[in-house]
């Protein structure tokens, strides 16, 4: 599918609390990014929680960490904070850059470990937890969640968001170095050729 990249081959450590076969938007995006980076010739090291009953088959070098289920969100687990383990892993196999896709305990641990080692780290703002709090009747927590998210993302070299609207919103809330990398569509699967014809 993807041609090899014309730019330098990078060693990229990707840290995510969710990954296929889990079904959600972040897992889907991470599946595409990780596979695509590999197809472009980059060396990908995936760090994620171990999923129940899985047999490792991602095809990439992986560090699987223990995870715990999220109450009220079946099928999703957050990774435990394993900063010391990540430091050891990265010291023995040094990545050029880290991409931290999620803001859970594993994401926080990864950012701390990367900073302690002087590794460049980019974060992804995939999930609007501060807005979800409203819908779950936890409005009072919204401000506190936002402060935590802002502190987390401002410790990274850049925060990637999918839209200009979200970039502007976060910038107004004090997030720095926010850049846009939008999302894609599987244009083989979702093609006009596959549309239903009136019959």
């Amino acid at each position: 599918m993807s041609a090899e990249s014309p730019c330098a081959r990078l060693r990229v450590s990707v840290i995510t609390e969710t990954y296929p076969p889990e079904i959600n938007g972040v897992a889907n995006t991470m599946g595409h990014l990780v596979r695509g980076l590999g197809q472009r010739g980059h060396q990908v090291h995936l760090v994620r929680p171990r999923q129940p009953g899985e047999t490792p088959a991602s095809g990439f070098r992986e560090t699987l960490v223990p995870g715990v289920p999220i109450p009220g969100y079946r099928g999703l687990r957050v990774g435990l904070p394993v900063a010391r383990r990540l430091r050891r892993v990265w010291e023995s196999s040094w990545p050029d850059i880290c991409y931290i896709a999620t803001q859970g305990p594993l994401g926080h641990a990864a950012l701390s470990a990367a900073r302690a080692l002087g590794l460049p780290a980019i974060t992804g703002f995939h999930t609007q937890f501060h807005q979800y709090s409203r819908h779950y009747g936890l409005e009072a927590l919204g401000q506190s969640i936002m402060r935590t998210l802002r502190r987390f993302h401002n410790r990274s070299e850049a925060t990637l968001v999918p839209t200009a609207q979200l970039r502007d919103e976060l910038a107004a809330l004090g997030f720095r170095r926010v850049r846009i990398v939008s999302r894609g569509v599987d244009t083989d699967l979702f093609s006009p050729q596959r549309r239903n014809r009136p019959g």
């Binding site: 980076l37 980059h42 460049p120 980019i122 990398v181 939008s182 244009t187």
Partner: protein
């Protein structure tokens, strides 16, 4: 928007460009090749 404009190929190129930009900011003199090998 065309199919190319929606594709993951375009997203990957943009993502790659951000990785390179951050590495370049950290090591402006090195360029992307050097940035990729600076840590070896």
């Amino acid at each position: 928007m065309t199919a190319e404009g929606l594709s993951w190929e375009r997203v990957l190129s943009a993502f790659e460009a951000e990785l390179i930009a951050v590495l370049h900011d950290r090591n402006p003199a090195g360029g992307s090749e050097d940035a990729a090998t600076a840590s070896t």
